[in-house]
Subunit: 330 residues, 2 copies
DNA sequence: TTGTACGCGTTATCAA
DNA sequence: TTGATAACGCGTACAA
């Protein structure tokens, strides 16, 4: 028969975390004094401060954030809702947000709303229940009543990317119209005759902005074929595969769709940047790798502004204009 | 002179959220009964249950998760640490994790450790302080003492992707050796003579596994040039740009680097899939768009297993073997 | 079937 | 400079 000897000492069986009370006991002082030391509140003698710090170190004390939140009303959490985490544009935004948030000791709760409006609403509600100091939402972009409701119910909300002129919301938005216009003007100057627009859902403000902006810059709306597809590079790919005649240029709603378009064009043996031009939108990291001309969105600056809004240093609707980045594809 | 009349009624000035107590008062019952209704605990008459639900609806009551966590010890939060959120492989993993977590009503706290080991340690500690029921970490991959420490201090930890044979940790890991071997065998069968390996830091287990596996499958280690670069497609791009002679094939540590390699090759006017073959690793979404052969990692299955481990249905080290996906590039 | 009272770990108030 | 005490909102014994 086998006998097991298990060495269980106090350290091993500790299930609960060290609390303020225990630190206070060890430092032979009160909880309040320990709390003061932790939060850097003045009015503690150098002597006791050191005793407390020593006890904290020895016990490996970590403050309980839930208790702190419950008491103070501040959560130290930032909620982030993104439309599609798999799209590198949003992944980049999340990365930037994290950088700044971590600098401030904020915990970031990320939710991918998965291109679903319904999930966006649900996630926003869950975030309210969870409790966050503020929420940054990169929304789907044609409905905003849920954002206004949340905002007016006391939740600090910043909309990221989309422009809702009528909404009473702080925004850091992208001027899609200007972006589209830049693309249109560029192609017009190159003397392009016929063009195809590979766009997203026409209900969305971004789609309308990019489309109308492009047509304004391009000039000849009648020689533009407009395709409103779902936001999926595969669909864009198939659409171009099936095209009877290939236009002289493509303007795509985002870089992912542009990549799909380029693949289809390559398979159809037309030379990109030569026989046919392609322009994307976003300037995600692989646009450069793919030599794709595109409209760069200054994500870093936008995130920076977002945090200024959250800090109360700015408010209102902050506009950012995309920059046309020319590469081999156009 | 302008006079503003502001309509401020009770609803408008409410700063604090509705509490259990208020619901109880409204339903003229006790907090306990309300709590029972919310948590679906039996022993409440149909009559009072309905009164309570009505009050909840009317007041728009949301339970306070912090108070609940404080009291119950369960946080309802899942921590996720990823090595590089900008890499679509990890973005995809985060997306999958979110899907499953949201189904269970879990809140996901995501941290991008930004390819920094130091940040990985720091973030893990912050997560412990924040309080999470469990944490899934896709680690950098050559140090794991911080994971073991966290795990042995009572935190439920699952390592995602990397294999630490000696670590006392639950893992869902990728068999890099087998993956590399498949790539090597494929190129050997195609009669490839000279090959270049565009790899990550050789200190990492993944790098060692992929490299050695490849060489085993390929056979002729002496005709393989190995480049250990930083994990950045630009560096891979530049490396191939500067190559004096171009080998017959490239095996790349991941798809992002493969994209950089392909771009360099295209600029050097060699035909991919013809003059030179390229194989990546991960099968991120744009690998298909780029017609890149690669080793597919079954992220969905892996995430599924991860949740089974978290639920206590499985434990130990779960191995996943990458699948060779052949496309135009090889 | 329902209610009372206490405690989770912290911070705010006030008194010493 | 310090400490006792009372909340924050909820769940759990236990009593009714």
């Amino acid at each position: 028969m086998l006998t097991l000897t298990v060495n269980v000492n106090k350290e091993d069986i500790r299930l609960k975390r060290v609390t303020l009370r225990e630190v206070a006991e060890r430092a032979s002082t009160s909880m309040m004094t320990v709390s003061r030391v932790i939060n850097g509140i003045p009015g503690v003698s150098q002597n006791t401060r050191e005793k407390v710090l020593k006890a904290i170190r020895e016990l490996g004390y970590l403050p309980n954030r839930d208790a702190r939140s419950l008491r103070s009303g501040k959560t130290g959490r930032l909620g982030v809702l993104v439309f599609d985490i798999r799209n590198p544009f949003y992944a980049e935004a999340v990365g930037e947000i994290e950088d700044l948030a971590n600098d401030q000791g904020l915990t970031v709760i990320v939710t991918d709303t998965n291109r679903s409006h319904q999930k966006e609403e649900k996630a926003l509600r869950l975030l309210e229940e969870t409790g966050v100091d503020s929420v940054v939402v990169a929304p789907e972009g044609y409905e905003f009543t849920h954002l206004e409701r949340s905002s007016s119910s006391g939740q600090k909300v910043v909309s990221f990317g989309v422009h809702f002129p009528e909404a009473e919301l702080d925004e850091v938005w992208i001027d899609d119209h200007e972006g589209g216009k830049k693309a249109g003007e560029h192609l017009r100057k190159l003397g392009i005759g016929e063009v195809a627009l590979i766009m997203d859902n026409p209900r969305k403000a971004a789609t309308v902005g990019r489309t109308e902006g492009f047509l304004e810059g391009f000039g000849r709306a009648d020689s533009a074929r407009i395709f409103n597809l779902s936001l999926d590079w595969r669909v864009a790919y198939q659409t171009v595969k099936n095209l009877e005649t290939i236009p002289e240029a493509f303007f795509c709603h985002n870089d992912m769709m542009a990549i799909g378009v380029m693949r289809a064009l390559r398979e159809r043996k037309v030379r990109i940047g030569d026989d046919v031009l392609v322009i994307g939108f976003d300037d995600v990291f692989f646009a450069e790798a793919a030599d794709l001309s595109t409209l760069r969105i200054p994500i870093g600056d936008m995130v920076h502004s977002t945090f200024e809004i959250l800090a109360g240093q700015k408010s209102g609707k902050l506009r950012y204009v995309p920059e046309l980045i020319l590469r081999g594809s156009a």
